[in-house]
């Protein structure tokens, strides 16, 4: 880490520290001497473990970000978020089919949403959380699945919802319903599974497994490479 970088003032749970600019919230905590156990996962913006809130000494408004992605700024006040319990309905995906009404049945509190939009403002992925909650209320499974798709399940929406709703678990339920029951069936996958089960490729695989390295190298060099750009694009 560049030690010559300009130092900036930050506050971790109220305590003053100086860190070089250019660090993320996560690396600023580590630079200040914190060793993480909680609040740290993939360190790349995918797992949601480091979702955090912060504000500034001169601006009390809370902001929401992933600690591994957000760069620290002067006068930032950082906290480590404690664990938030969240409601998670358990269900048998095979039985619930793609019935949009099931969302309400499994998460009855969803009708309490009064459209304050805090969830959307909170989402570090900038998803339209409140809109997909509205879709969920109407039982529109494909719309919820699509709009919630980039959710990393950090749980900030649920942590901040004044009604105690759990948008991220509702999005997941809708996506699973969509994937299992509504997505068009892929016949070519089923066909290939049957072909493999019927032993169609067994002889060829046995043969290639026994082929010597020299022969394998020859076949490898002579492979016909399919063009990367599919003709049927769009």
């Amino acid at each position: 880490m560049a030690e010559q970088a300009r130092l900036i003032d930050i506050y971790i749970m109220g305590k003053h520290y100086q860190v070089p600019e250019g660090l993320t919230i996560l690396t600023a905590l580590e630079y200040s001497g914190y060793r993480m156990i909680r609040g740290c996962g993939c360190r790349a913006g995918f797992c949601g473990a480091c979702a955090t809130v912060y504000n500034f000494t001169n601006d009390p408004k809370l902001r929401y970000e992933l600690a591994c992605q957000k760069t620290v700024e002067p006068e930032m006040c950082l906290v480590q978020i404690p664990y938030f319990p969240a409601v998670k309905a358990t269900y048998d995906l095979e039985k619930i089919k793609a019935d949009g009404e099931k969302i309400k049945a499994l998460y009855p509190d969803i009708v309490k949403c009064f459209g304050c939009n805090t969830c959307t403002k909170t989402c570090p992925q900038e998803l339209e959380v409140m809109w997909y909650m509205t879709d969920a209320l109407r039982g529109d499974v494909p719309a919820v699945a699509d709009k919630s798709f980039d959710c990393i399940m950090c749980g900030l929406c649920a942590a901040r919802c004044p009604q105690g709703l759990v948008p991220y678990n509702i999005g997941l339920l809708a996506r699973r319903m969509y994937g299992r029951h509504l997505a068009p069936a892929s016949k070519h996958v089923d066909t290939r599974i049957e072909e493999i089960a019927s032993g169609k490729y067994d002889a060829e695989l046995e043969e290639i497994k026994k082929a010597g390295e020299k022969e394998l190298r020859r076949r490898y060099a002579e492979r016909i490479i399919e063009p990367a750009l599919e003709q049927t694009w769009e």
Binding site: M36, H188, V189
Partner: protein
């Protein structure tokens, strides 16, 4: 936003786009490939490796960072821990819960076993969620498992275990189907045909994706299903030693509550190791794409219990890690960017390698471009890198492709005011994957009775270099196989009495080799990035 001197260089990249649009860089011949790897791939730096002095793989070479941990001392004093009074008593204990551990747990549960999962971060905080590009399966009519087999063997330099590769390619389509039945949303056309892309080293289009959140989509579904099935799990709880019995069979593990530092005994008839990789050991000081817990714990525990390791002298350096801006140094820029048509370009705006060669080859070419030819660019922070010309994707495939196919990448760079649809990405290789690991058979069984392994911590299927999309595939193929096999094994095994004798013997072996006081305590559990100004600390209690 790039600094001015980089912005100026981007103009050169822009100027060569029309020419590069029709330029066809041929794939390297086998001999040229080998030469390139020998000269530039980090695996070939002799000083980075050391021969192991103790254990089953004594005499084998491995990176010094891993050697230190494999030869490490136990965290326990076996005299003070009684493995016969368990806190948990189950049929199958799964250590680690990424894609492999979750698949194994679900299948073992389905087979009727009592299952306990233990994981040192949260359920599903694993490299699986960072896998973006996709999962391979030869399921298009134009493709066949035989092509998949040959591509995989060639990518691994023909040293892969043929039986494992056969299992991988034959199970692949059913793994895709299994995930879909659990509710994974695959990218597909309205007629149901899967939207499949090429990858580095594949001869056919066979990568199944879920935007560029493929691994995340797979993991969040599996995690949800574990909760629906009410399978027991312990978070922030690591395994620090395996327990064997007097017959040399697996008998469970000693667990550590990471927060209270309390030890617990988990008795199990079978243990499935699914602890993932080792990127956080920062081999040769490389940055890494790996999650916070990737510290080779499973390798260390299994090795100490007598499990054989394979291919531990080969690591995968992903060709395209971010080098700018600094906060995301080393983070993954998915291979899907090249899969969709982005080219690798040096500071003169020229291509220097076919972008869809296998990863080890592309990585070596980038290192040569920067280190030997001086054709890379320096970042303000002193790193060097080359351009990954992402705007080519929209030029080739039409505007909006990047937004639709790469939302995670767009989002990551937008945070730093870089629009990857308009400007290229500055990259350099980053430590990504451990090609080898614990030796397994096609059921995930190791040479230690009752010990199974699956996923990145196992080795053999990828030979010396893994292909894109074969890692997520491996999780579901061998995770499921190990789960079923472990449940079956648990119904048949005759238990002995549990002991930590092997830990005692290990300590003696270290002393005999004269390294007992020269090695760190292991498993490492987590990296230590906390900066301590004075270099020392004190406990409160």
């Amino acid at each position: 936003m790039y600094p001015t001197y980089l912005e100026e260089n981007i103009h050169i990249v822009e100027d060569t786009r029309v020419r590069r649009l029709i330029q066809n860089i041929p794939r390297l011949l086998e001999l040229d490939k080998i030469e390139l790897l020998r000269k530039y791939h980090p695996d070939f730096i002799a000083a980075s490796m050391r021969k192991l002095q103790v254990g089953v793989n004594k005499g084998d070479l491995t990176p010094v960072e891993l050697a230190d941990l494999l030869e490490g001392r136990s965290r326990l004093d076996p005299a003070k821990v009684d493995p016969s009074s368990p806190d948990y008593n189950v049929d199958v204990l799964v250590i680690g819960c990424g894609g492999a551990g979750a698949s194994a747990a679900l299948l073992a549960h389905e087979a009727g076993a009592r299952v306990l999962i233990t994981t040192k971060l949260r359920l599903g905080d694993a490299n699986t969620v960072g896998a973006q590009a996709g999962t391979q399966a030869a399921d298009r009519p134009e493709d066949s498992p035989v092509h998949h087999y040959l591509d995989t063997m060639g990518g691994g330099h023909f040293e892969n275990d043929p039986e494992l590769v056969e299992a991988l390619v034959k199970d692949a389509p059913s793994a895709i189907k299994w995930l879909e039945k659990l509710g994974v949303n695959w990218d597909k056309a309205k007629d149901g045909s899967m939207h499949e892309l090429s990858g580095g080293g594949t001869s056919k289009r066979r990568l199944h994706s879920a935007r560029d959140y493929t691994g995340l989509e797979e993991m969040r579904v599996l995690r949800d299903e574990i909760k629906n099935k009410k399978i027991n799990y312990l978070e922030f709880t690591s395994a620090v030693e395996l327990i064997l019995d007097d017959k040399g069979q697996i008998a469970g593990a000693i667990l550590l509550n990471m927060e209270t530092q309390e030890l617990m005994i988990a008795r199990a008839k079978a243990v499935i190791m699914a602890t993932g990789g080792l990127g956080r050991l920062h081999i040769q000081d490389f940055p890494t794409t790996n999650h916070y817990g990737a510290t080779a714990d499973g390798l260390v525990l299994a090795y100490r219990a007598g499990a054989k390791l394979v291919f531990i002298d080969t690591m995968q350096y992903h060709p395209t890690g971010a080098v700018f801006p600094l906060p995301i140094l080393g983070q993954l820029v998915t291979e899907k960017v090249r899969t969709l048509g982005a080219q690798l370009v040096n500071k003169a705006g020229e291509q220097f390698i076919m972008p869809l060669e296998p990863r080890d080859v592309v990585t070596s070419a980038i290192i040569r471009e920067c280190r030997e030819r001086g054709m890379g660019l320096n970042t303000p922070n002193g790193e060097s890198g080359v351009w990954l010309d992402s705007p080519m994707i929209d030029i080739i495939r039409g505007e909006g492709t990047i937004a639709r196919e790469l939302p995670a990448m767009v989002r990551q760079y937008r945070r730093f005011n870089i629009d990857i649809a308009k400007e290229p990405i500055l990259i350099y290789p980053t430590l990504h994957y451990q090609n080898g690991g614990i030796k397994i058979d096609t059921e995930g069984a190791t040479n230690v009775p009752g010990l199974f392994a699956a996923g990145e911590c196992s080795g053999g299927v990828h030979g010396r270099n893994r292909l894109i999309g074969n890692s997520t595939l491996e999780l579901f193929v061998f995770g499921r196989r190990a789960g079923s096999a472990a449940a079956r094994y648990a119904t048949e095994v005759k238990r002995g009495s549990p002991t930590l004798e092997h830990v005692r013997r290990w300590q003696q072996e270290l002393e005999k080799a004269g390294i007992a006081d020269k090695r760190p305590v292991s498993p490492q559990l987590l990296p230590d990035y906390a900066r301590r100004v004075k270099g020392y600390t004190s406990s409160i209690f």
